[in-house]
Symmetry: C2
Subunit: 619 residues, 2 copies
Amino acid sequence: MSEKVHRVVFVPEGRTLNVPDGQTLLEAARSAGIRINAPCGGKGTCGGCRIVVPENPPPPEESCLRVLSGEEIHRNLRLACQLRVRRNLRVVIPEETRLADQKILVEGAERRTALAPNVRKVVLHLPPPSVADQRSDADRLLDGLAEKGLPDLQLDFGAARDLSGRLRALDFETAAVVLGSDVIGLERPSAADACYGVAFDIGTTTLAGYLVNLVTGEVAAAAGRTNPQTVYGDDVVARIEYCGRDKRGARTLQGLVVDAMNAMIREVCRKAAIRPSVVYEVTVVGNTTMNHLLLRLPVDPIARAPFVAASASGQSVPARDLGLKIHPRGRLYAGPLVASFVGADTVGVILATGLHESDRLRMAIDIGTNGEIVLGMRDRLIACSTAAGPAFEGARIRYGMRAATGAIDRVDLDGDRLILHTIDEAPPVGLCGTGLLDAVVALVEAGIVRPNGAMRSAGDLAECPPELARRVVGTDGDLGFVLASDDETRIGHPVLLMQKDIREVQLAKGAIAAGTAMLLEEFGATAADLEEVLLAGAFGNFIRPERALAIGLIPNVPREKVKFVGNAAGVGARMLLVNRDLRSVAEDVARGTEHIELSRRPDFQQHFAEAMHFPTGRP
Amino acid sequence: MSEKVHRVVFVPEGRTLNVPDGQTLLEAARSAGIRINAPCGGKGTCGGCRIVVPENPPPPEESCLRVLSGEEIHRNLRLACQLRVRRNLRVVIPEETRLADQKILVEGAERRTALAPNVRKVVLHLPPPSVADQRSDADRLLDGLAEKGLPDLQLDFGAARDLSGRLRALDFETAAVVLGSDVIGLERPSAADACYGVAFDIGTTTLAGYLVNLVTGEVAAAAGRTNPQTVYGDDVVARIEYCGRDKRGARTLQGLVVDAMNAMIREVCRKAAIRPSVVYEVTVVGNTTMNHLLLRLPVDPIARAPFVAASASGQSVPARDLGLKIHPRGRLYAGPLVASFVGADTVGVILATGLHESDRLRMAIDIGTNGEIVLGMRDRLIACSTAAGPAFEGARIRYGMRAATGAIDRVDLDGDRLILHTIDEAPPVGLCGTGLLDAVVALVEAGIVRPNGAMRSAGDLAECPPELARRVVGTDGDLGFVLASDDETRIGHPVLLMQKDIREVQLAKGAIAAGTAMLLEEFGATAADLEEVLLAGAFGNFIRPERALAIGLIPNVPREKVKFVGNAAGVGARMLLVNRDLRSVAEDVARGTEHIELSRRPDFQQHFAEAMHFPTGRP
């Protein structure tokens, strides 16, 4: 091996590595603990490890040219797994290429959103007071802002208390922080460019947060966590019941989610090397229960007939009142809700996918613990929520886990040979949502699981490939299929797919498929009328469309009509952060979207029962 | 004495007294501890003890006909000191007739103000939610208010938290409390008429508070106190200096005034038999320092050249943030300020006197520790503030006291005989502002005090009435005039007017007279151009105009041009409470009023020195 070593500087962190000549950037990054997304394992086929070499990039490898577009090559994007380091380099890792501690989806089909944030910093050079100019400090400031084209602002009362001291300390040269129509602070003019917000998607099971630079509109960092409220119940109904049982329950749940949000804010700020005090606004989308729990609005009427929310409008409240630790006079904006079971996350999906502006009929499916489905186009939108359960997020599954290192995330059949893939290519330790779906599809294809979901027992496997058949263990009451043995896992237990896990998949799939069917029926359309089926959410974006089609999870459309839209709800939260004018659009969308309550429909049970079955035959 | 006894019911307290036949109402009230204003001591000459007999009033006595107008007689007003009880009666004691614990001025030339308060209660009968009507609770409420002609309201976020529970507890029948454009609470429909506000005049020395029924616009009760901040300095400059010396000073002073305001709120609520939680808004007028101390705005720049306020606009802030104990989501509105030494109290005087709408030139003088003076008419208003000192409020005077029981409030000369009058006709215990002024005028008239303010010493009194001359005691350094001897006071010490007290009066008078002179000069007018001179404030309303003219305290106009306008600043605070539209008028008045800083004028010292002299000869 050559003794030659090159210096690679990772921007924006500024970390410098000494990289042996010829090592790939992916290897170099991993050896230094910098986690880069590489779903294909470094084969140069998936394009997940896109990085940017801003200056004088090496010529693209052939694999690069296959995976990246011409425009991307021109923008100096390369694949970290293919780029062998031959000289000193400066490298930028785009946020979507970073691997979060948990594999939370941070990218998204972000729509072009005009930069018009609710927070701005305005540099002012004010004349100091004199005997000829005795205007009050507040008038002096507001007059200065009016001269800059920002009339009719008011001074936040808390900021007014600091005003006189700040103006004099800064010699009347300042960057005024304007939030909505309020001036909330005065900073040094040199701080004018440090203006950030954090957009949150508060899911029942998963939280995602994005630090956005409000001067450039770019995502500066992202973070993901498990919603700590899951300890008190996997789904929204369980959490509402907990609040009903324990009178301090609502406060407990609110504190948990706020603590997690604060930890995520600290995390993204650390990543971007900024202080949380330059975060001035937080936007949140979440389902109605998550929204109400966060805002400490009562949740009881949500779960009780006739199922109403306390408040459906978008809410802007002082962040401090909720316990959020950003700028002391920063605010939180929670997006508007459609109904008691269709929340701001769905509104976010609509904004992100542009369904409300679409000329053709499209459907968006956000697969989470609550599966939210929206169908429609410009003139009509219908939405529903289905209690899919947390199976696809790895919960309620015997060997289930989140999509983290060692999770089996892909299962393929090569004849009668089982091929597993794990996240970070670590030894298998459990099964995440995509692996679960893959495993079920594989076993149905192999005939080990019947279309009705029943796993064949040891005595009934004569027609199945023997290599697979011998992996079926246990008895009728507790049948399981060994995906990885003790030897393979090296953690003291094997990883099995249990009969009960298959039932959970059936329930989740049944709920979502019944929802899509009933929305189409309500709209008077069929799958054939769909221009696109958009898959949103972490799970939705990591599954393979052919598998989702094979299992009947999504409407039966040609493969090419299935599109991934990333964490569309989170994208919606970012759009509401970056462009304040979208808040009234969101309000209109929320009020204009029809919602149907599946459980109240007489034909729901029939749809659901039908959808529990797996389609027969290979797709 | 007749054995016959009649029942007298006092409204609104509902107290019932058994009154011997033929006793006057004033005597009956006093014997029961109900304090009624009676400056003339019950002679039927001053009209201070006006009461109302709403049903079947007895025919007016001759003295009544002299003192009350025909219109007042027609409105069933009578004099309590003249009305002898001959049968059962129901009696209403108007607020202005009640004697506060301290003789604080509560009446005022209240201008006709349209009833348009910032707080309203709106009774709603909302349809309960159903499967056919799943609007959120907030939308249901706001839709109901829109149907009542109140569109575009928003739900206060704190109220939103209680909303679902309240609506269900009330079966969707409620009185919504609307404050500004916010819904801040939901109450029982039966509580719809309990809607109150409190208007405060926060003076440097004296606080006055008025409970106003916002359904009728009437003053329901009033209270007065000494500003407890006086412990930390008699005037605004001393208090600002205290805040500069002690870094917790501003917090201390704020806490003191808020505690006093809370005590006054409790007092007026007790008097009107309501709970403080049905007080939804507080309005405040005060000079710039009092305003900033209350709101915890910095006061340092007020007293330091070039003398600017932190914020001059009207401020509406949550009452709870300041520590005020009214409805938990009630608000405080502090009126706008003109400049660092001309505050919202002056704006209140302008609103109350209508100077800003006047076709003729008028001057208003509010005599307090700060003397505020406004001169002008529709197109031009000029104001100034003079450091009169607290002499007329009884402070810095050797035997000075507030205008409370036992204070000498009037001093007359009948030849060489001194005639004293005390408040409540109690034995004299000290000297209040009007008594001080009277005493000085009497001694100047008698020649005991020279026009330059020097008291003649014992050897120099040959030409003075001997009856008075023998009351001069002490030596050159500490000359005094005995107003009441030990025997008369029965409190172990006499009451004297000291040489030093006369100097205080000269300083106060000089400051005010210099202010009025310089405003006239600035306006290009003379006293002859004045249509009216309006006297405001507690002191201003209890002095006798001829005395004020005699001593040169006010511009030299004919007696009939001097009018009393009560506590005009307090009236202004009430107007801002009763009619929210006046708040923008107040803002215009504050911005449109010119202010001159006397101390910066080169000719101030000359005016001041001239004004220190007492005019020679009897008026």
